[in-house]
Symmetry: none
DNA sequence: TTGTAATCGAGACGGTACGTCGGGTCTTAGT
DNA sequence: ACTAAGACCCGACGTACCGTCTCGATTACAA
């Protein structure tokens, strides 16, 4: 994937790697806000112009750097055990996001994309596969009857990732596996097919 | 509430208001990143020093400004209808966060607090009442038996707000009330007391 | 004399001196073209903005620096001996211009002023006193009858300085005092009153 | 004439002309300082390397371009009337230098040559013929007895051109023919043979 | 009523970084 | 071999803000 305009085969691959490495390393060390294009260029021993030539913004550089550093998102496992599969993915995300210096950088990127449509789009393209994979896994379970058919799988994705995101953002302590388990269990309980027949339970909500 | 050090009764209230107004207005117009102390000072017709004297950072100014502009969070309603109460709160939050220019500013603040402990603390103090109110409302429902006693109310808060946060952050379109309803229903289904005794349903997770 | 816009009593005199010194020293060492505002700022341990605040261009800084370094032009001597007075002034100018690193800098400034009206004006204000002094000296001699009354003193100034300028610009070797003497003698011969009446010599021009 | 190193018969004459044209046109339009090799290359639709290959500096390109545009200096006329011949040459020079956009470009070149020995030499080779021609014309007049034999013709050249140079450099208004006449007359008066016999006039200088 | 001391608007200061231009070198195709 | 094209590293441009620092000029308290 490329965020870059001139799109030339003359591009110097060495410079590209050096820039991405310098970018992500700097961001981890001093944070997103204090990361400057100038600083990246100096660290990568590269002219500033070389950065401006290929990326439209600091965010775009870091997004690509992040991508490269994190590597392939990998297809979501499908062991047949939905709970275990989701647990694995959520713990992975929680760890990456909450217990790794990458988390803060990534989140800053997310924020920047709120006021930068191009960046938002690039970010979307990056996370889309992972999100889609999770959604497909849920839809598969739905077809097997483990999730009620009227549930929107996309909403489930939002709930699963959103819970983790919120916890990571607003809590200082790292996220305990137990917390992941609990929210996962609640959600799966909330979506499992109703016992049916015996005058099926209504939503418990009204008091 | 005040984030400010000298804390003197000699403080010029007029300047304070002008600064907060200029800050939030600027942030809404041009975004958090492009909001500068210098710009705020000029717009508020105030010396830069006056800002630096009373606030430690741009984020601190904006946090206080946001607080002032949004006013009292208000105690969460308790109409006896848990679903309706939660729905009201979540829709309010979703609207504020996702359909208002304030959302992006607030989120930038949240990001900044990831690498600014003082700001994080100030932010926490600001949102704590709302979060606690929601948690207490859930605990009340729990004592009435509408939520299983083994559920951690704090986790529910994370799930409720987290889902909205994620949807707002990663989707461009505004959040539809139906989406709030669906996730709320799933969660409440997931936490309602088990039918018990009669061969009670196990968690649906294992396939 | 000041070339500067904001014109404030808050100006930091220390910075001003440091800038002028750094400017002229740099220009002497590396030449006008390779002298950069950035370099001056660094050498003077001053922010670039401080230079841009008070001077409109590199040329303006150097002009003022040159002025300060060369100090007062001093009123032209009037010993009663016209030849000796002019000789002294011309040798001084020739030396300054041709045997001193200042010459090249000054000349670059002159060139820059060809395409920078503001600089041209500032330069004019700087050299005007010296030129006027020389012109007045010539006019005094004219009233004493040592120079024909129909001669334009300003033209004489042009001839005196122009000759030196040309020699300095187009010859590498330093200007010998003898050369100054010779041109001076020619000019004074060319303007001395005609013997009149008694078979007066006509202009030798036509062949 | 060529200032260029590889000096190959493979040289593309079309590129050479395009470069020289682009160079002089750009310099006339925006001035010497703002003329860039990059700009010349783009305007001439030529690779930068092609310029760097054949010329050592911007000045060298412009010098050659100037030469080509101005064409042959032409031998100085010798009509037998010294005053008229000189007047013609000086007016030509004054016009070219002072009333033409070429003047400023040429002068910038002159300045650059003050700190670029190679350029100085190239410039010297270019103007030498014209200067020599003027000097020879003066020497011829000298042998005919119209100029005192002890006068150094080279000094006269300096005075003639120098006066014009100074006037052009330091005055904004274009040079009037009358000014040229006056200085020319003064010089010729100053160098014409002395009336002799009657206890020959001393230089009028001492008062 | 009058100090006197903190706060105020203003803005100069030494800096860092911005995004752009151009320098001079080097590489890639194409002629 | 020489060309057009243009990427590369680098240095400087002129601007925007940073956070600190004087400046008088209010201003509100305590003497």
């Amino acid at each position: 994937m490329s965020t870059s305009p001139p799109d030339s085969y003359r591009r110097n691959e060495h410079a590209r790697r050096a820039i991405l490495d310098a970018a992500i390393d700097t961001a981890i060390e001093v944070g997103y806000e204090k990361t400057s294009i100038e600083g990246i260029a100096k660290r990568a021993r590269v002219g500033k112009q070389t950065i401006y030539r290929w990326w439209p913004s600091k965010g775009a550089v870091l997004l690509e750097a992040l991508q490269q550093r994190m590597g392939r998102d990998g297809e979501l496992a499908d062991t047949g055990d939905l709970f275990a599969d989701l647990r694995g993915e959520l713990l992975r995300a929680a760890h990456l996001y909450g217990a790794t210096p990458i988390g803060a950088v990534y989140h800053a990127l997310l924020t920047a994309s709120l006021s930068d449509a191009a960046l938002a789009e690039a970010h979307d393209a990056m996370v889309r596969p992972g999100i889609d994979a999770l959604r497909r896994r849920l839809e598969a379970a739905q077809e097997l009857g483990h999730i009620r058919p009227d549930i929107d799988a996309a909403t489930l994705v939002d709930m699963l990732y959103g819970t983790i995101l919120f916890q990571v953002l607003l809590r200082t302590r790292p996220l305990a596996p137990g917390q992941v388990d609990e929210s996962l269990r609640i959600i799966l309980d909330g979506v499992r097919p109703r016992p049916t027949l015996e005058g099926g339970a209504r939503p418990a909500a009204s008091e």
